[in-house]
Symmetry: C2
Subunit: 428 residues, 2 copies
Amino acid sequence: MLRFASRKSEYLPTHFYNIKADLPDLPKPPLNPRTKEALNPSDLEAIFSRGFIQQEIASEREVPIPDEVLEAYSIFRPTPLIYAAGLRKALDTPARIFYKYEGVGPVGSHKTNTAIMQAYLAAREGITTLTTETGAGQWGSALAYAGSKLGIQTKIFMVRSSYRQKPGRRILMEMFGGTVRESPSDTTDAGRRFFAQDPNHPGSLGIAISEAVELAVKSPGMKYSLGSVLDAVLMHQTVIGLEAEKQMAELGAEPDTIVGCVGGGSNFAGISFPFVRRNLRDGKAIRFITVEPESCPTLTRGELRYDCGDSVGMAPLLYMYTLGMDFVPPPIHAGGLRYHGMAPLVSHLVNKGIVEPKACSQEKVFDAARLFLKTEAILPAPESSHAIAAVVDEALAAKKEGKERVILFNLSGHGFLDISAFNGNGSK
Amino acid sequence: MLRFASRKSEYLPTHFYNIKADLPDLPKPPLNPRTKEALNPSDLEAIFSRGFIQQEIASEREVPIPDEVLEAYSIFRPTPLIYAAGLRKALDTPARIFYKYEGVGPVGSHKTNTAIMQAYLAAREGITTLTTETGAGQWGSALAYAGSKLGIQTKIFMVRSSYRQKPGRRILMEMFGGTVRESPSDTTDAGRRFFAQDPNHPGSLGIAISEAVELAVKSPGMKYSLGSVLDAVLMHQTVIGLEAEKQMAELGAEPDTIVGCVGGGSNFAGISFPFVRRNLRDGKAIRFITVEPESCPTLTRGELRYDCGDSVGMAPLLYMYTLGMDFVPPPIHAGGLRYHGMAPLVSHLVNKGIVEPKACSQEKVFDAARLFLKTEAILPAPESSHAIAAVVDEALAAKKEGKERVILFNLSGHGFLDISAFNGNGSK
């Protein structure tokens, strides 16, 4: 069997897949955080570009990918689909395992897929600058890259503790011309509240979001950009699954199980939604598994209800599984995927029983990462390693049952810029 | 045109290419460092595995790649050959530019190609442990990976200043089960000489080599392993060029210019030697360009003579271009490629006028890296960025001349684990 599905340009889709067109019923709509009424799209215009809002409320099944975006994608897409020969051998399993490797993108993760589209939509309507927040810098570096491609400036508020401890992604954002500020900063009202108390305040994603949204709302020509959770962001990520469909066909394999890690939900949505369509429309019975950290168990232990999308109540209320807007994972947790909520569309599919949620311990996740590194020769991101941990479980279950299974998962990124997370987890 | 040449397994060669079989005359032989007489292969048996020594003196044109090594290669090989559409567009050049991307390997560089072969040769004759030195950790992590695949333990002496400043590759070596010691250590005579003076001695590659060689020579079941310079190491790297030949053919392109950066010479040899054969045997006139840092100008300003391969005089005397065994590049130099000498085979081809040496300034190299990152979406290693700088020159020269050229270069690795080198070089 081939190990790599070739990267033919015709595998790049021309349209995003909008799962909402195929869902028998839709998730409950977002609410305006002030009025608690169903959100009016125009409520969002102070924050987001109009083009992005249109994609967020789009109802057609196929949303065209503009030529300029396709050209930007073609630099690193189609990403390879790889047959996990080494992992399979190590597990001695009858299951065939495939993964889509999004780490070949410019910042080493899938985040660029939506960043490029969002920068394109902003540039088209004359927006000069996008603001955003970033923790360790994965999303920030994706947006900075996209900005450098599409002629959009980027202003990124980076959580101070990460800014100081993990300079790698900050350097990468700057190489792309992004402006990176430690958050809390003294440049916004929201930031000053904390900065005034303590200029060395470690910061939080919640504060950084507030700073980025405030700057966008107050500045002409600026809008805010978000890297996960929203319907449009998930839709942009479907390029992953659409490519994978064609590449799996080239390799002569049809998946019966699809696995992805979840933080906000976008990489899982990206690989799985085009295949969920097969269950919805064609009566297939593919299993879909989300994997989250036990220390941030949104889908496995959270509650399905309206909650704030951010930690300060400026963003719309979303109907989703949530641990509560004040949730903070314990400090021992190193593996990313720290968001308190979950994309409403992923929440909906879990609630409907189409997607099975699963949680894995950090130890199990790092064991899986080490095994993958040795057998597949790719250092997985700590986040993506959650998916690997579940794939190992599934592959071993298949072995027990003596069943030939076909498992596909999304290797959403590499771990080279996060290697410090593995420190002390190495020499086993 | 396709952007990616597909990664079909039939592109993996079954034999290494030994350029010595096609050279009209050979480089002067290595000398025994004590007697200054031509080296007897058995002189090396205290240091290297017998299998490695046989490969070092091999004279046949094609040296078979064992099945076990091919299997290990197949995890990440063939590596992709990529058409540099973005770079070409940015330079507005009629030259078509292609690169072989070795960064997809497990430690992000080409070093694994020889590490796997050396670990295989050692395992075959019952050697339990390989020792080596490493600076920032590129070679050490490659050998640790290879050891983990082939059941060989690895003991790696890592220059203390790197050990403390750049933990990333140390963590990677440990994830592969390698034992990493700060050098100078108190575990060898050579190390103690410096450690006793100062337990925080920053170390040097020369001291680390001495420690690794001493440990191997004194310990039953242990041998030493080297990551560049020697004929056999260069030969192992020809898998790069052999794959590239077939992939270029798939893309319908024949290179007239081939470029690689040089430190010890192995990645340049890897991409170029199979094409040098075309000049030697088939009368082609392909240009070959090596690129080194202006601050370590071995081929452009060094002298061709016998010099020590290491910095303490334990290794054989090699006939090569050298800056002198005591040469240390100025502290401002950040881009790797610090070796004082050069592979005898590369030195020989430069001396014969077959290969053109070139040096680039650090500023120019970092400019090229930034351009490549933005246009090709891959963060190049600082080392590999030297090759990019020369490719940019060639592409612009082609534009001036209005000439359609076909340029191939080796992108020997990615820069994610070296991103700190770019710090402060970002926001231009």
